[in-house]
Symmetry: C2
Subunit: 348 residues, 2 copies
DNA sequence: TTGTAAGCGTTATCAC
DNA sequence: GTGATAACGCTTACAA
């Protein structure tokens, strides 16, 4: 005996009213007489009725679901972002499906191109690897609401919560320079692919060096396939064999920096005395690392909240003009560049 | 002019066949003549038709969606779990919606009780805080496929990917004892609520101490509201004021251990010389911590894979008898208990 | 204010 | 093997 959930019709029958009235009550329609509402409410209670969201969706076209597409959910930056996105979305009545591209260009294309037309989500929050041109090509003529996260380039077609990657990188490097470092390496460039984020951060890095009259050494610019701890470790190992050895390393993410610090220690050197290290993101892990990690803090809750609000607005009204919102960033100097200090507990 | 995606009917009209035939082709039905199939395929191509999954769901009752319910997605253990769950689910054609209970008992109840009946998911993967009794009470008579993650208690009603928490805790403490530590503290107990995991780990902790003839000191058993770095830090600060001071700390999660290590350093002590520290989980962060964190490794990919396969089997056939699968665990001794070693790079 | 009925885009049950 | 057609459970003109 299969269990059948109660339907609108069941409720209507039991309450001796039409489905229309039940629907009105359920969707909070105003013009329902109190006694009707009472009868319906009671029948709903008795039958333990819950509206079927799928049927509702088929009718209204709204699923109440957002897709969040990130490279890897277990990268702290993205898991912290996901947390905030899910919470913000919940406040607005949305739930969030998480998809991972796994750094796979093709999968990224598929998620954007293939599935955007399937009416499973009301909108997509997309943290892309690809550059603008590819993106336009991908999303193409689809009208699935889309909000971009983290890129800087912008052509006005998409809502966009941006980070000023060039400036953020510039700030990090300038901090190192202000501490008297002169041989500043960069970890996390991506020479092979046209990913936007590393390109922008590289630009900021080089600009800061040049403005300070420092040399940009190709051997001090190390790519990292993935922005992972292991990637940072490997890159840093290579870096430490160069001559002259760098006295500071600017990593394009905190995770890279964590790996880099470990490599410095394994090489028998000290952070920051021998090599200062700074990252970008300000993930929680960095506060507790030893030494605690200097970084450029990105306002993840802000980014998440804005993204959800933008997509909600766009879903509400597709004509909403696209907007670029630039999230602020802030240099956070901790032990990995300043050294130990008793006055300022490291993990704050 | 609103853009209307092509429907099955549009394709049928264009190909001059019935919707039935188109549906057959789309769903890969066997008995379709080659020329028919060809005609249909071409029409699909021309109209850029994609089946509407919502309509399909309404008909079939299958959404192809799983819900993953965890306390907090940005806790590394859960984000690593989510990553594996999403990947495993994708292989089987499912997508994953992530929900957070945020340590909120009420929200947990709601997600399980309220929404399970809404036909938005085919099944729920649930990493619960609550104990068995409450759970039974919650899920009650619902027939939404459910797989439990991480608990040990079992009464045969639910599929269940378990961890032997008692044994895992026992192993961790025994490791500390084997290193000659005698004043071993525990961080992460939960005296107020009846959460299963901390209760089990406390049991294993105390059993190991007793078997070794060591004293169980109440003042060396410190609760932690959240299994966070900050929680571990705070608990450890309290711990270090006790007399006698512990010479080892068993933390109920790696995150707690990371926080605890930081507190030890801030107190001017060394790990493991003054205080050895061990956790449970084996998150990636622990490999790169300094010193690298000894831990009890839980096989997260295994847990995720089994969970997804179990729920898929149950969705396929609701009569599938419930099964308890116990994931193996393994002690991983690193620097935080063994001390530094040149031979064994810490981050392996 | 409430009832009736027509879809939303599929799949599945009949016939042929 | 293929064609009509009735659901799936809901929302919403259109009537009453």
């Amino acid at each position: 005996m299969a269990f059948m959930p109660a339907t609108l019709r069941d409720v209507a029958d039991r309450a001796q009213v039409s489905v229309r009235t039940v629907s009105n009550v359920v969707s909070g329609y105003q013009h329902v007489s109190p006694q009707m509402r009472q009868r319906v409410l009671q029948a709903i209670e008795e039958l333990d009725y819950r509206p079927n969201p799928v049927a509702r969706t088929l009718r209204t076209g709204r699923t109440g679901m957002l897709a969040l597409v990130v490279p890897e959910i277990d990268v702290p930056y993205f898991s912290e972002l996901a947390r905030e996105v899910i919470d913000s979305a919940a406040e607005l009545g949305y739930r969030v499906m998480v998809d991972q591209t796994g750094h796979d260009h093709e999968r990224e294309r598929q998620l954007l191109l293939g599935e955007n037309r399937t009416m499973l989500f009301d909108g997509i929050l997309f943290s892309p690897l690809v550059t603008k041109a590819e993106l336009l090509d991908m999303h193409g003529s689809s009208r699935m609401p889309l909000v971009l996260l983290g890129e800087h380039e912008f052509d006005g077609r998409y809502d966009h919560i941006a980070i000023d990657n060039v400036q953020a990188a510039h700030d990090a490097v300038t901090h190192l320079i202000s501490l008297g470092r002169t041989r500043i390496a960069a970890v996390g460039t991506q020479p092979l692919e046209g990913y936007a984020t590393p390109l922008q951060r590289t630009a900021g890095y080089e600009a800061a060096l040049r403005e300070a009259g420092l040399q940009v050494r190709p051997e001090h610019t190390i790519p990292a396939a993935h922005y992972s701890r292991t990637g940072g470790y490997t890159a840093c190992v290579a870096l430490l064999t160069t001559s002259p050895r760098p006295d500071a390393i600017f990593c394009f993410s905190d995770l890279l920096a964590i790996g880099a610090m470990r490599a410095v220690f394994d090489a028998g050197l000290r952070v920051p005395d021998d090599v200062a290290v700074i990252g970008i993101d300000d993930i929680d892990e960095g506060r507790f690392a030893r030494p605690s990690l200097s970084t450029v803090s990105l306002d993840i809750p802000f980014i998440a909240r804005e993204a959800v609000h933008r997509i909600a607005a766009r879903i509400e009204n597709p004509q909403t003009p696209a907007e670029e919102i630039v999230a602020t960033h802030q240099l956070v100097a901790r032990e990995s560049t300043l050294g130990m200090s008793d006055e300022h507990p490291a993990h704050r």
